[in-house]
């Protein structure tokens, strides 16, 4: 057979949050110089040709002047993005004989700059996941994606910052120490010549990812406040703990400045770290959205706080290339909507499907994407336009119709989804003091105040003890224990572990282990308080969470009574 000049490098395309393996084949045929790419690439893929040509030439290699044809297989799959630049360049180099790769297949990912630098790609971890099935001898990643890739510590991952590093790696095989790469490169920028020193590049050579890369990433510097710093608002704190413990959606209503946002921000500190499976999925979603930025595995629950001017597409996902929306970015995490009434009603309405099914369907012409969206929804709103409806002095200047109209902006079905609702009012003066004092001073003021109020002496002690024990770390542990308990119980009936708020409503009493007499008791109360069927189930779930959180095996009437406090009473 005649000598076929061809090069074969593998890569992977990003399809939603999944990767699909792609073969990149390059062959050089005699004919007029040309460079064609086939395989249903989009504009970025077409522009690849220019980038690869420039990168190869500027790095000191020659671009074959013959008919170069590249094919991305499978031919029927639409390929998007610039991640194929690097594998294409490598394939061209192989085909033209400038590079000799080992016999076992190699895969690479990376965008190329015009000078041959390798740029990061979105969704790397998703692409790597797709390439796992095949045994590759090497998987080459951009330097900036290295932390992300290090999640898969069992794969042969290599990082490179420049095309020449790869070339020099292969040319400096044992026995051949001579490095042919140029030491410097002259680049003309704005008519000024600038010299880029190759040696100054981050790593002199492409190197294997060190195994301890996984611990390299910085833990997220959280802006979260600790729970012990919050003054007053005891009921709200309790509600927050229960929301975290059972994954119940929480609605906070209150006048401006009463602490809704501050409270919501403490939530990340209350949630235990993600397990491996959850962490991988969360990382994949963030990576596919291009929001991973040099980070490795995400191990904390995401906390997303979109501004209320967010559009529908940004909230649930979409756009030309379906990018995951905030609800998917908040998967396994918290989605905090501050000023709920200011959000676009169309956007809020679109949240119904993710709230119901814990996933989002995005439909496009040829295919559809399904992104996971199991998040904890926390919302804060004022009860009326002036915000004072819940303050005790009836200083509210709104008529009852105005109040109704204001809350009516949050659609009924959305309001119905909240499992826990609390009404908050402003702090009293002594509570305001506590919010800025240190712990020692706090206890001093608290005692004084208790004396003023004339309560019994015993209450002092209990209050002090309580305050000192309520810190985020303590709650974190309790929440973690509660999660474990719920998951174990759910595994008896369901195929995968679920928290109380997500258990299917079929045979709820059995699944939540609620005694018959309490079911009847709650039903009576439901009639008295005019609860809907959904509210009734919510009360049962919440009561079970209360029991679990307070570590009761058997549910009691007290738990139902407490759960009833959290129903929404302003309509």
């Amino acid at each position: 057979m005649k000598n076929i000049q061809c090069g074969h490098v593998y890569s992977a395309a990003l399809h939603g949050i999944d990767g699909v393996m792609v073969d990149i084949e390059v062959t050089i045929l005699p004919g007029l110089p040309g460079f064609e790419i086939v395989g249903l690439g989009d504009s970025a893929v077409r522009e690849s040709r220019n980038r690869v040509y420039a990168a190869l030439r500027n790095s000191g290699y020659t671009f074959p002047s013959a008919k170069v044809t590249a094919s991305y297989a499978p031919a029927w799959l639409h390929k998007t993005g610039s991640a194929f630049d690097l594998p294409l360049a490598l394939a061209v180099l192989v085909a033209s004989g400038q590079l000799k790769l080992p016999d076992l297949p190699v895969c690479a990912f990376g965008e190329l700059s015009l000078t041959g630098e390798i740029r990061p790609v979105p969704g790397l971890i998703c692409r790597l996941a797709a390439c796992r099935e095949r045994a590759f001898s090497m998987m080459i990643l951009p330097e900036e994606n290295a932390a992300e890739g290090s999640v898969f510590s069992d794969l042969p991952l290599y990082r490179a910052a420049h095309l020449s590093q790869i070339m020099s790696y292969f040319s400096s095989s044992p026995g051949n120490q001579k490095r042919e790469s140029k030491k410097s490169l002259t680049v003309t920028v704005n008519n000024e010549k600038a010299v880029v020193q190759m040696d100054n590049l981050p790593a002199n050579q492409m190197d294997r990812l060190p195994l301890n890369m996984i611990d390299d990433h910085q833990p997220k510097v959280s802006q979260t406040t600790d729970l012990s710093q919050i003054a007053g608002q005891k009921q709200a704190i309790r509600a927050l703990q229960l929301a975290a413990a059972g994954w119940h959606h929480l609605l906070m209503l209150g006048s401006p400045g009463c602490g809704k946002t501050t409270l919501a921000r403490t939530l990340p500190s209350l949630l235990p770290p993600l397990n491996n499976e959850q962490a991988l999925l969360v990382t994949r979603i963030h990576s596919a959205a291009g929001r991973l930025s040099r980070q490795g595995l995400i191990t904390e629950h995401p906390f997303r706080m979109p501004h209320h001017s967010i559009s529908r597409a940004a909230l649930i996902g979409g756009g030309l290339v379906p990018v995951p929306g905030e609800v998917s970015m908040a998967h396994q995490g918290v989605l905090f909507l501050d000023e709920l009434t200011a959000f676009d009603p169309a956007a809020l309405d679109a949240m119904r499907q993710p709230l119901e099914e814990q996933q989002v369907h995005l439909y496009r012409l040829n295919h559809s994407f399904v992104y996971p969206a199991d998040f904890l929804l926390i919302a804060a709103a004022n009860p009326c336009r002036c915000g004072e409806y819940l303050e005790p002095d009836s200083s509210c200047t709104c008529t009852p119709e105005q109040v109704k109209r204001y809350l009516g902006k949050i659609s009924g079905p959305l309001l119905d989804r909240f499992d826990v609702a609390i009404e908050m009012s402003r702090l009293k003066p002594y509570q305001l003091m506590q919010s800025v004092l240190s712990n020692n001073e706090k206890s001093q003021y608290r005692q004084e105040d208790v004396k003023i109020n004339g309560s019994a002496k015993t209450s002092e002690k209990s209050v002090n003890n309580e305050a000192l024990t309520v810190t985020s770390a303590v709650i974190n542990k309790k929440v973690h224990a509660c999660h474990q308990l719920q998951k174990e119980r759910s595994l008896r009936f369901e195929s995968e572990p679920r928290l109380n708020a997500r258990i299917g409503s079929d045979r709820l009493a059995e699944k939540l282990d609620i005694p018959r007499h309490l079911i009847r008791y709650t039903a009576d109360l439901a009639q008295h308080f005019n609860l809907t069927a959904r509210s009734y189930q919510k009360v049962l779930r919440l009561a079970r969470t209360i029991a679990d959180y307070d570590q009761y095996l058997e549910m009691r009437k007290d738990h139902i009574d407490e759960a009833l406090q959290f129903r929404l009473r302003i309509k």
């Binding site: 005790p392 002095d393 009836s394 009404e423 109020n453 209450s459 009847r520």
Partner: protein, 442 residues
Amino acid sequence: MKSEQIRQENMIQKADRRLKASLILSTLRETLKLRRSFWLEAFNQEAELLSFADNALLKDPAAASQHHLFSKINAESKQALIRVLRSDSFHQKIKKQLQVAKAHKISAVSWLSPSYPDRLLHISSYPLVLYYRGSLSLPSLSQMNGVTVVGTRKPSYYGRQVVQKMTSEWCDRGLVCVSGLARGIDGLAHQTALEKGAPTIAVLANGLDVVYPPEHLALYEHLLTNGLAISEHPPGQKPLRQHFPARNRILSGLCQAVVVIEAAEKSGSLITAEFAADQGREVFAVPGTIISAGSRGCNLLIKDGAGMLLCAEDIYLAYDFSETTDLVKDKPETASLPMKKPEPERLSSIKTESSFQTLSRSMSASDSGLSALKNQTGSENNKNTSHSDLFRIKDVLRACPLSISTICSETGLSPSKCAILLTQMELSGQVFFERGHYSLTE
């Protein structure tokens, strides 16, 4: 027989003429900008007004201009008057209003009519025309012992309780409650009276075919079967903002005493109280808590010298109960009215036991069955401690309404414990929840 029929016919005719005259008067007053005194001086007797009205309708300005009233106005106004009387739009409007009035069984009198309530004539700017509809006769307004009940449109639980309690007792005693059919205290006063089967009177700031506020449609219809609705505005008139203070003068003018149940500092009910004072009526107010702003108006009234109402009986000082207080049921004046109205029955719709209490009794029954189960589960809350906790909560709630968080802070109990106890107390009726805060019920 025949004379009876003839008498009936005459009455119906008279009522018709009165209605027409009133409508014409209302329309003329609206279109022409003549002084009120002009109209008062123009007619000395009802017959004069009625004949003027008849002539006006005949489209005969010559005949109408014979009327001596024309001599009292200047040429300009005279021209204007003739122009209006000739115009088609005027006659069409009258015709339309007449139709509406007939359809809704609205009647009307002028100030000259003998049926016009006496007490109302004593106020400084009494309405020249009174429209009315309902099942009572207008003359009975002169004989009744009535009390005007006014208050805020956003009453608190306290205000609601007070108005219901007092109105109920007054109706038993035979006082007729007069109010404005507004949201809040007014509506509750009417409702309580009607539930007891007692008649009640509503004074509106709009035409009697218009229902404002819309939520009171059912209440209004009920009121018409056992009571009277009156207004100085012709049918079709919508409730405009400036009509309300004016309406209040009628509210206070109809009765010997005005009671303000719950009013904030800038409430409209205070305007009614002021009118009452000017008209020489008695003003009473019910005091309220000084912490919330809801009762500040009432408290200020008392400070300024209004009578303090602490119980329903306090108001009887203002009344003389010697004369009979039965109200005359109206005989149908127009043939379209149904012939007979049933006697009002005391509705026994008032529950003797609140629903809370029944539920708590049933719960305690199930509780006793559960006690065995509870003991099985081990450490149960000691009944004694939960009792003392309950008292602690009640203690702090005595001062003022509190939110759960504040109750926790004040009593030192955990939010969980507070929530449990408060739910139980809510079920047994000991506390109620409003606008984010708990208060004790009394």
